[in-house]
C-alpha cells in the first residue's frame, strides 16, 4: 500500500465523521494555540527588557549600597553608604581607567507645579555625565552643566512626558516650575525615549544638579557625614572593559570605605548585562511555567485523540475485518490508523499555530498603562509546537492502531 493510499483512506474515514474529527482537533488547536500564544508573549517580554536596557545606556555599571551579609536581598536595601566623593573618585582615570563617564544619581518623588498644572514625578539629582551614560538626547535647550552643579543652580531639565503634562504645546524653556516650594528654571527638555521599565516611563522625570538636589530638596548623609548618593552609574568604553572596571570600582570603594580584608562590601556593583541576565532568567522561568501549563492542555488533547481513536477502532472492528478479509496486512491497518491520528494532530497543530499567532498579535495590542506587551513568535517556538503535536499524535495513535492491526480477521468480521 502506497503512502498516498494511506492518506486517501485516512482522509475518507475522517471526513465521514466530520463533527467528531473537528472536536478532536479542537483540543489540539487550543493546546498548540495556548503554547504558542503564551510563549510568544514571554519571548516578547524578554525582548522588551533587553531593548529597554539598551535604551538606558550600553556598557553601564551600576554601583548601589548594600547591606553586608544580607546576600541578594541586601542589594539596594542598605543605609546610604555611597557619597558624592566616591563618585568623584571613580571618575578619576587613575583609579578606574576604563570609565568613560561617571554619574552619581539620587532620585525621589515630588510634586512639580507650573502655573495651574502639576504632576507627581521622579526628581533625579545628577551630573552632566548622566546624559551620556543613559543615552538621553535633548529635544530643546541644554542639559545641566558642571557650572550648574558647582553653583547649586535651581535649574531643571524636563522629561518629554513631564514637559507635555505641565506645558502642553507651550515652550517650557525659561519657564519656572516649583518643586518643594523652590522655583526652578527650565533649561532643557529631553527627547522622548518611549520605553518603560517595570511600569516606570523613562520620559517621566525631572533632572536637577546633584548638589541642588542634596542641599535644597532631599538632604541625605552617609554615616561618615558625606553627601550621600543613591547610586553611581559608570559607563565604560566597551563590553570587554566591564569586568576590569568592576574590579577597579570594588578596589577603590573598599579602600575609601576602609573595609578590612575580611569584611564584605557595603555596596554592590552590577553590570547592565547582569541585570538583563537576571531579569531574563526570571522571565524565562515564567515563560516555561506558562508553557508548561499550556503543555498540560496539549497532553489532554493527546489523550482526547487516543480516546477517539480507541472508540473508532472498536466501532470499526467490522470494517477492519472486511479490510483484512480482502488482503489488508497488519501494517496496512496500522498505517491507516496512525495516519488518521497524524492528520488529526498535524491539522490541529497547524490551525493551533495560526490561532496562537493571531492570539499573540491580539495580546500585543492590549494597552497596559500606556505600553503594550510585545509578542514574538519565533521559529523555535513553532518547531517545538509542531514536534510536540506530531509526537502526541503518534504516541496517542500508536496504541489504538496496534490494537486494530492485531485483530484476528474472523473475530473482527463477526464483531457486533
Amino acid at each position: 500500500m502506497k503512502l498516498i493510499d494511506f492518506l486517501v483512506t485516512a482522509l475518507k474515514s475522517l471526513s465521514t465523521n466530520k463533527l467528531r474529527s473537528s472536536l478532536t482537533m479542537l483540543g489540539m488547536i487550543i493546546g498548540v494555540g495556548a503554547v504558542i500564544g503564551l510563549m510568544s508573549v514571554g519571548r516578547g517580554a524578554q525582548a522588551m527588557v533587553t531593548s529597554t536596557f539598551e535604551q538606558m545606556g550600553t556598557n553601564a555599571i551600576y554601583v548601589i549600597p548594600s547591606s553586608p551579609g544580607a546576600g541578594v536581598a541586601g542589594i539596594g536595601m542598605g543605609a546610604p553608604t555611597l557619597s558624592l566623593d566616591d563618585a568623584e573618585a571613580l571618575a578619576n582615570p587613575a583609579y578606574v581607567p576604563s570609565a568613560v563617564a561617571v554619574a552619581p544619581i539620587s532620585t525621589n518623588y515630588a510634586e512639580v507645579i507650573a502655573g495651574n498644572e502639576s504632576a507627581v514625578t521622579s526628581i533625579t539629582g545628577t551630573t552632566p555625565e548622566y546624559q551620556g551614560a543613559l543615552n538621553y538626547s535633548l529635544a530643546s535647550g541644554q542639559f545641566i552643566s558642571e557650572r550648574n552643579v558647582s553653583h547649586r543652580d535651581t535649574v531643571a531639565v524636563l522629561g518629554d512626558k513631564v514637559a507635555e503634562d505641565l506645558f502642553g504645546s507651550d515652550d517650557p524653556l525659561g519657564q519656572k516650575v516649583k518643586i518643594k516650594e523652590r522655583r526652578f528654571t527650565v533649561i532643557g527638555v529631553l527627547e522622548a525615549k518611549g520605553g518603560a521599565f517595570m511600569g516606570v516611563s523613562q520620559d517621566e522625570l525631572v533632572v536637577v544638579p546633584i548638589t541642588t538636589f542634596q542641599t535644597r530638596l532631599f538632604t541625605q548623609r552617609t554615616a561618615g557625614g558625606g553627601d550621600a548618593v543613591q547610586s553611581i552609574v559608570v559607563q565604560v568604553a566597551s563590553a570587554e572593559a566591564i569586568d576590569g572596571a568592576i574590579y577597579d570600582i570594588e578596589d577603590v570603594l573598599r579602600k575609601r570605605h576602609r573595609l578590612a580584608p575580611d569584611e564584605e562590601n557595603d555596596f554592590a556593583v552590577i553590570s547592565q548585562e547582569q541585570i538583563i541576565g537576571m531579569l531574563q532568567q526570571v522571565i524565562g522561568v515564567f515563560t516555561i511555567f506558562l508553557g508548561a501549563i499550556a503543555g498540560i492542555s496539549l497532553l489532554v488533547a493527546g489523550i482526547g485523540i487516543m480516546n477517539i481513536m480507541l472508540v473508532s477502532v472498536t466501532e470499526r472492528t467490522r470494517e477492519i475485518g472486511i479490510r483484512k478479509a480482502v488482503g489488508a496486512k497488519r501494517r496496512d491497518i496500522l498505517g491507516q490508523f496512525l495516519m488518521e491520528a497524524a492528520i488529526l494532530s498535524l491539522t490541529g497543530g497547524g490551525i493551533g499555530i495560526a490561532g496562537g499567532w493571531v492570539m499573540s498579535r491580539l495580546i500585543s495590542r492590549i494597552d497596559i498603562g500606556g505600553q503594550a506587551i510585545p509578542s514574538v513568535v519565533s521559529p523555535d517556538i513553532i518547531i517545538l509546537a509542531i514536534s510536540v503535536s506530531v509526537f502526541i499524535g503518534l504516541v496517542s495513535g500508536i496504541y489504538p492502531a496496534l490494537r486494530a492491526a492485531r485483530l484476528n480477521p474472523i473475530d473482527a468480521l463477526h464483531y457486533g
Binding site: M1, R318, I322, R323, G327, R330, L413
Partner: protein, 219 residues
C-alpha cells in the same frame, strides 16, 4: 488444488472447549463447484474460513496449490486472501460509507495494483452493476449489494471464490440470480465453494459435502 488432512479446530469458550472441526480430510480440484451443507453449528463456516485463510486450524495439514499454508505468516496469509481468494458473505460486508466502486477497488489497493478504476469497473460490469458504480451500499437493494460483494471477490482474478450463505438474506428470485452468477463464474474456470443450508442451492452444484458435528458424513 486444495488438500486438507486431519484438520481440527478447537475453540475455547471460557472453561469449555468446543470442537468445531474433528479431523476433516478433503480434496477439491481446480474448476469444481462445491456446496458444503449441514445444520447450524456443524462447522461448515469454520471449514470455509480455514480454506479461505481467514482462520487457522488447531491441527492438521492444509496444502493449497502444492504449498503448505499452515507454515505461512500472517502477512503471507493476507497476501493469499488478496490474490488467490474472493469472499462473499451472507451480510455482504461492504463498507457502507463509500461507493460500490470504492468497495470493489479495496482488494486492488491492498494488492498494490494500478488501473484500479478500470479493473473495478470491469468487475462491476461482469455482475451487471456498471450503472450503479457511484451508489453507496445503503442506496442498493440486497441483491445489488451482494453483486457488489461478488464483484469485489472477482476483482483480483482469484483462483477460488468462497461464499458463506450468500443468499441467506435474499428472496428466491434474487437467490437464483446470484447462484447463476456463481455458475457463470465457475464455467469461466473459477473454483467455487458455497456454504449453505438450502438443499435447492446445493443441488445446483456438482458436488455436495455434508457436515455433521465437525465431521464429513458424505461427499
Amino acid at each position: 488444488m486444495i488438500e486438507l488432512e486431519g484438520i481440527t479446530k478447537v475453540y475455547r469458550m471460557g472453561e469449555v472447549e468446543v470442537n468445531a472441526l474433528r479431523g476433516i480430510t478433503l480434496s477439491i480440484t481446480k474448476g469444481e463447484m462445491v456446496a458444503i451443507i449441514g445444520a447450524s453449528g456443524s462447522g461448515k463456516s469454520t471449514l470455509l474460513n480455514i480454506i479461505g485463510c481467514l482462520d487457522r486450524p488447531t491441527s492438521g495439514k492444509y496444502i493449497f496449490d502444492g504449498a503448505d499454508v499452515s507454515q505461512l505468516s500472517d502477512n503471507q496469509l493476507a497476501g493469499m486472501r488478496n490474490r488467490k481468494f474472493g469472499f462473499v458473505f451472507q451480510e455482504y460486508n461492504l463498507l457502507s460509507r463509500v461507493t460500490a466502486l470504492s468497495n470493489v477497488e479495496l482488494p486492488l489497493i491492498y494488492g498494490g495494483s494500478g488501473h484500479r478504476h478500470k479493473g473495478a469497473m470491469e468487475a462491476l460490469e461482469r455482475v451487471g452493476l456498471g450503472a450503479r458504480a457511484e451508489h453507496k451500499p445503503t442506496e442498493l437493494s440486497g441483491g445489488e449489494q451482494q453483486r457488489v460483494a461478488i464483484a469485489r471477490a472477482l476483482v483480483n482474478n482469484p483462483a477460488l471464490i468462497l461464499a458463506d450463505e450468500p443468499t441467506g438474506n435474499l428472496d428466491s428470485k434474487t437467490t437464483n440470480e446470484i447462484i447463476s452468477i456463481f455458475r457463470q463464474l465457475n464455467q469461466e474456470g473459477i473454483t467455487v465453494i458455497i456454504v449453505t443450508h438450502e438443499a435447492d442451492i446445493a443441488s445446483q452444484t456438482q458436488r455436495i459435502i455434508r457436515l455433521h458435528d465437525g465431521e464429513i458424513i458424505s461427499q
